[in-house]
Amino acid sequence: MRIVFKTDYMQDIRPWKDGYQLSLYLILLAFMIAAPYLVDDFYLGEITNVLVWAIAGLGLMVLTGHTGQASLGHAAFLALGCYANIILLEAGMPFMVAFPLAGLITGAVGVLIAIPALRMHGIYLAIATMAMSILTDDIIVLTEPWTGGVVGKFAPPVNVFGVMIDRWGTPKEFYWLILGVTVLITLGYINLLRAPLGRSFIAVRDSEVSAQAMGIDVARTKAISFGISCAITGLGGALMGLYATTFNNETFSVVISIQLLMMIVIGGLGSIHGAFFGAIVIGFLPQFLSISKEYVGAVFGGGTVAIPGLEFGVFGLILIVFILFEPMGIYGRWLKIRTWFELFPFYRKNMFKRKKSYLKTERVR
């Protein structure tokens, strides 16, 4: 049993609880930095993929997890960030300028879209963003002179502080680049959550009426949240483009939007950890399935049979199980396990029990 004694008001808003927790994260970071020497290039590529998904997930987490606005259209912003980055690079801009600029552009577009989108809420917002995501495909084809349409584009090697980085040529450097961006965004996110702005996001999520009563401009807060969310997603999209190296109008389909939302739900809505846990599930599920299929095939025969849609079917099942039995996702389960150990032997069964709630219509107000 471990107790954190608070001796200072600053301790409440410090990003880490105590030295023990901080040292755990530093050890994790050290392992992540050393990863290229610990695993081979294939798995390094997979870890890179997980980190890219995690960045995109962090973007959506700002909006859905912390501001409570479900978006089924974030693939559109992934696409925007990706294309903006590549188009700026092709215009001769250095990567160190083009990359943040791509994020800014996506964020600005996000705010523009947020203004009409704010009039909708709940289900209408989800459907509107989903329609936007479906339209993205057509828009990319229609704006062929810039985007390359169905032929698509090719991501060139990028220059970071004089080092040429390329997904296939220099996988180690590419991994460190992505890791660096991930760490920066995560730190920024942690800081956002301790700042008044992040607190107001959470207030809006928990109750718009009480947030308003506390003097929060709900519309403005939602618009800013949309902007920040889109900016991070745009950065994730730019990296996704570099990771994929080739992409076209079908790369960022509406399925990716849905996958992204499901990912953060599985990971745990409303927590930074959740985006990472979810990304691990998304990143390693295909590998896991193919390995387990081989195993099943070795025992029962017929392991080489391709089952179309298996990945999505299993993914859907995992999600259903989580929503029914662990609505706070993997992170929620982890919290329970941790609390059990920290409070041992005083953990009670109903400590995390949800309050019984009843739904009211949104049509009468």
């Binding site: 209408y124 989903m130 057509d138 179309p308 079917g313 859907g316 999600l319 929503i323 739904l359």
Partner: protein
């Protein structure tokens, strides 16, 4: 003539969208949840009917298979509510939305496993027949689709507004706690509405499979039905049908008169325009509470 022909085929397509949209609206009206898997329900209904009637499967007589497959869909809808959705009772709309999206993935996977991924059509007595009225040639399937949809919408509308059970369903959605106090068995009512939505999806599936080929990804048509439901204003049954017809009619006309590449954008562009200017749809159901 060409105009009329386009209009009729658009209306028939629109009716199918409208039927899926009816399923959304039914569930939304009575449980305040949105079933993102309604399109996949329709696909499942189509495949169950194909499995019962087509020669290579069970080869039951067509008219016998119809009530059986609608019944199976209703039972499936009820079981789904009983064992999955009911656990989410009182949870937020968004959680149910994500749950039903996941359900859609699973249904698509299972249908692919059972019936394969080849497009299949329903063998039916109406196939290939047509009637011509004043020079306009109408497929019998199209006529059947339009008639059945109109009848169904009308009877559901009457059901919700005239019968005790219909009113109880509306009450259950407006305020679950208050509905309990009024003696409405909210959970049982919700089970019934899911069964009803399953049956409607079954009918939509049969009509769709009679008109054209079905494969496990047909359920994605549900997205267009969303456009229909939103344009009509979620929560209004005639609105859902009207929205479906609008989307259905716009499609062939856009394909005919607007340059390729822009035409398939039309339904979604309309959806966004409606949402921006009338956030609650054309037949808005949102009322301000009078104190």
């Amino acid at each position: 003539m060409e105009f009329l022909q386009l209009l009729i085929s658009g209306l028939a397509n629109g009716c199918v969208y409208g039927l899926i949209a009816l399923g959304f609206v039914l569930i939304y009206k009575a449980t305040e949840a949105v079933n993102f898997a309604q399109g996949d329900f329709m696909m499942l209904g189509a495949f169950i009917t194909i499995g019962l009637t087509n020669a290579e499967y069970m080869a039951l007589p067509f008219w016998m298979a119809l009530p059986v497959s609608i019944g199976i869909m209703a039972v499936l809808g009820y079981l789904l509510d009983r064992f999955v959705i009911r656990r989410m009772f009182g949870e937020s709309q968004t959680a149910v939305v994500i749950l039903t999206i996941a359900l859609g993935f699973v249904i698509r996977f299972v249908a692919g496993l059972i019936w394969g991924h080849e497009p299949q059509t329903l063998e039916n007595p109406l196939a290939g027949k047509d009637i011509s009225v004043g020079g306009v040639v109408l497929g019998m399937e199209d006529v059947a689709v339009i008639i059945v949809t109109l009848l169904l919408t009308w009877s559901l509308y009457e059901f919700f507004n005239r019968t005790k059970l219909g009113l109880a369903m509306q009450g259950a959605s407006q305020n679950q706690l208050a509905a309990y106090y009024m003696g409405i068995p909210v959970k049982r009512v919700q089970g019934l509405i899911w069964a009803l939505a399953g049956a409607v999806a079954g009918i939509a599936g049969i009509l769709f499979a009679a008109k054209g080929a079905v494969d496990p990804n047909t359920g994605l048509l549900g997205i267009k039905a969303f456009a229909a439901a939103v344009i009509g204003g979620f929560g209004s049954l005639p609105g859902a049908l009207a929205g479906g017809l609008i989307v259905g009619v716009i499609e062939p006309f856009a394909a005919r008169y607007i340059a390729a590449g822009y035409s398939q954008v039309a339904p979604y562009a309309l959806l966004l325009a409606v949402l921006v200017f009338r956030p609650h749809g054309l037949f808005s159901q949102v009322r301000v509470k009078k104190v």
